[in-house]
């Protein structure tokens, strides 16, 4: 049985000058899922999203949005929160939300009614009549997000939605994303903060240097790295190093090492027999952050950030 895709792209390429900002990206986002696009700054996430939405045209490659190769033709079924937030400061919050709905084909009256309902549901009921210029940055960001869902889109695309939000608003946003998925919408969002992706994503892609380096579920991503063990001896001394696996590194009062393929039991028996004892032992699943650092590489992260800085200059 084939999976129905909300977004698919093959071989997307975008050059700015001589630089290939996006270099052959393939993405397949199944319908009804929360899909994360992860990557360091300047990895090409925003450019990829803009190409998927048809805001800019790719230099090479094909993409379909909700089954349509012309993304513009389905724009009424899409909600979008750009990385650079923008609202008209002189508009009232409900007007701004209704306006964003009207751009996507929702009539103004319904837009205003839904805007009030959405604001109340998001805990912003007290600000329904306020002008945008009077809101805090976080609140304005939430209002813009509500504007991107007011027309109840089939696909919601969020570019770095958590940046600039305090923890309370981050939690509100997470709830809203989950609610949208529960409503049946597909959510595609980019981030470089792993914690959100880990909590929310059904599937994800890790992009670096304009290329997709990994695609799969969070569990698939974690499976690319072995489990780690953290062992704290009861009677430590210098001779213990010889009994531990080769990749062991000291950490605090103990040692950290990769869980051996044959299991940890043999190592523990040797340590106990030698009289080191066990004061503490934990087996740790690799985090998405570990996977991200391993896949992207500290060097690539540094290179991406340098390239971004060069681009800005």
């Amino acid at each position: 049985m084939s999976i129905e895709l909300a977004v698919s792209a093959t071989g997307l390429v975008k050059r700015f000058g001589n630089r290939r900002v996006v270099d052959g990206v393939d993405i397949a986002v199944p319908k009804g899922m929360i899909y994360g696009v992860l990557g360091p700054n300047g990895a090409g996430k925003t450019t990829t999203l803009r190409m998927l939405l048809g805001i800019i045209e790719p230099d090479e490659g094909e993409r379909t949005l909700l089954g349509n190769p012309r993304p513009r033709e389905v724009s009424d079924q899409v909600g979008y929160l750009p990385e650079e937030r923008g609202l008209y400061p002189s508009m009232k919050t409900t007007q701004a939300i209704a306006f964003m709905g009207a751009l996507r084909g929702l009539d103004w009256r319904t837009g205003r009614t839904r805007a009030t309902q959405l604001m109340e549901a998001a805990g912003l009921g007290h600000a329904t009549d306020q002008k945008i210029r009077k809101l805090s940055k976080g609140m304005a960001q939430l209002v813009q997000l509500l504007g991107s869902v007011v027309h109840q889109p089939d696909l919601l695309v969020l570019d770095e939605p958590f940046s600039g939000l305090d923890p309370v608003n981050q939690e509100r946003l997470e709830k809203l994303i989950l609610a949208e998925r529960d409503r049946g919408a597909t959510v595609l969002f980019s981030t470089h903060v792993m914690a959100h992706a880990e909590r929310l994503c059904d599937r994800l892609a890790i992009i670096a240097g304009g290329k997709v380096r990994f695609e799969g579920t969070v569990a698939d991503a974690r499976a690319t790295l072995p489990f780690k063990a953290h062992y704290v001896p009861h009677h430590p001394n210098d001779g213990i190093r010889a009994l531990l696996p080769a990749d062991s590194t000291p950490e605090g009062d103990g040692w950290r090492f990769t869980l051996p393929d044959e299991g940890i039991e043999g190592t523990l028996v040797k340590l106990i027999d030698a009289g080191y004892g066990i004061s503490g032992l934990s087996i740790e699943r690799p985090s998405l952050h570990d996977v991200f650092v391993r896949i992207v590489g500290a060097k690539a992260i540094a290179e991406s950030e340098a390239a971004e800085a060069e681009g800005r200059a």
């Binding site: 800019i56 045209e57 513009r72 033709e73 750009p82 650079e84 937030r85 923008g86 008209y88 751009l103």
Partner: protein
């Protein structure tokens, strides 16, 4: 929903936002009353007054129907009398014509001639002359009466009593005068210029708001940039219509509000095609001039990424507009010159020149040709400007351009 219906709906959403954002602000009142300030400055007013006066003076005349010695004496007396007036107060040029069988009918017919503006005509014996004059020709009639008296005095030297008793009759013209057409042309060109100057100033900076608030990305994702482009044009066009409606109502009713003496000064001002047709043509030319200039300015304005760049752009844009106005207002004074033809043919001055022509000449077919010509240029300009706009806003070429590049490769 069809693509066109969708495009129109998206365009109207942008237009509505822009219209509301422009009109429902206190600063819109400043914008609305800006023409008053401009008039107040007097620079335009002074120039206009001089041009209007010149336009009328060229064709203004007073006439004496006389023959033989009487004509010769009248011309000599006119030469003497004129010396008593300062240059600015000089009466209209004196023309002497031989009287026909029916001098009264001959005199009345002179007021209806289109090639000249006759203010007063004197006929009959000079001791009891008949003087016909237009409503705003009272001064001319007084002058002719003084002229008759001067001639009689020259013939009967040595008396100080009035020797001539003139009978003055006011003549009502069937239409406006040739000078009045020129004046109407100048008013129309100036009005069109002022409206387009004010509105183009608004249009050129209209993208600045979206850029500074970063709303452009939201718009670009939701609707085609062509909708943003047309929405902004249409939104400002709505503002323009409001502006035009307000000032049109003021101008139409201003006659009834003016003091009688002042109103008389405008009595001969009128367009050659007639007022209702002129109104229609004015609106049509306003639409084309707005679309032509507005599209170019919107496209250029989208290239500016900072307020400073926008300000730098405003100067050449204003100079361009003033040049168009200068060219068209010159044609208002000389409707048959080569400059008038050139101004009518050049797309960006064509609406100005043709509105002047509507005031100066009664033929309608040139307007049909001009409107088709201008509509063609509106289509060309809007297409190019929309592409410029897209590239300026997104720094990204259109798909069509990319295909061409590929084909070339």
């Amino acid at each position: 929903m069809s693509s066109l219906a969708r495009l129109i709906r998206q365009t109207m959403t942008i237009a509505r936002r822009d219209f509301v954002a422009t009109v429902f602000t206190p600063t819109f009142l400043l914008f609305l009353f800006a023409p008053l300030m401009m008039v107040g400055f007097g620079a335009v007013g002074g120039g206009a007054a001089m041009s209007i006066t010149k336009s009328g003076d060229d064709k203004a005349r007073i006439v004496v129907l006389a023959g033989g010695d009487q004509a010769r004496v009248a011309v000599a007396a006119d030469r003497q009398l004129r010396r008593m007036f300062r240059p600015i107060e000089q009466p209209a040029r004196l023309i002497v014509e031989r009287p026909g069988v029916n001098p009264e009918a001959q005199a009345r017919a002179m007021f209806e001639r289109k090639e000249s503006d006759t203010y007063a005509v004197m006929y009959g014996p000079l001791d009891k002359p008949q003087i016909l004059h237009s409503k705003n020709g009272t001064r001319s009639a007084d002058y002719l009466a003084a002229l008759a008296d001067q001639v009689m005095r020259a013939q009967r030297a040595g008396t100080s009593a009035p020797l001539s008793e003139a009978t003055k009759i006011v003549v009502t013209r069937a239409g406006s005068t040739a000078g009045g057409h020129g004046q109407a042309a100048f008013f129309a060109v100036t009005a069109l210029f002022m409206i387009s100057l004010l509105l183009a100033g608004q249009v050129v900076g209209t993208m600045a708001e979206e850029r500074s608030n970063k709303v452009i990305e939201v718009l670009a994702a939701a609707v085609p940039l062509e909708s943003v482009f047309f929405g902004k044009l249409v939104g400002m066009f709505g503002v323009a219509l409001l502006f035009l409606g307000f000032w049109g109502t003021v101008v139409v009713n201003v006659g009834s509000l003016l003091p009688a003496k002042l109103a008389t000064a405008f009595i001969d001002v009128g367009p050659a095609v007639g007022l209702p047709m002129f109104g229609l043509l004015f609106v049509a030319y306003f639409v084309t001039s707005y679309m032509l200039l507005g599209a170019v300015f919107l496209g250029l304005g989208a290239q500016a990424s900072t307020q400073r760049e926008l300000q730098m752009m405003s100067l050449p844009i204003t100079i361009f507009q003033v040049a168009m106005w200068g060219m068209a207002s010159a044609t208002a004074l000389e409707p048959d010159s080569w400059l008038a033809t050139a101004a009518a043919a050049f797309p960006f001055s064509s609406p100005f020149a043709m509105v002047a022509r509507a005031a100066n000449a009664p033929e309608l077919w040139p307007h049909a040709v001009a409107l088709i010509w201008q509509a063609l240029w509106v289509a060309i300009t809007v297409t190019i400007a929309a592409r410029l706009f897209r590239r300026g806003v997104l720094q990204s070429g259109s798909p069509r351009l990319r295909l061409r590049k590929k084909a070339a490769a």
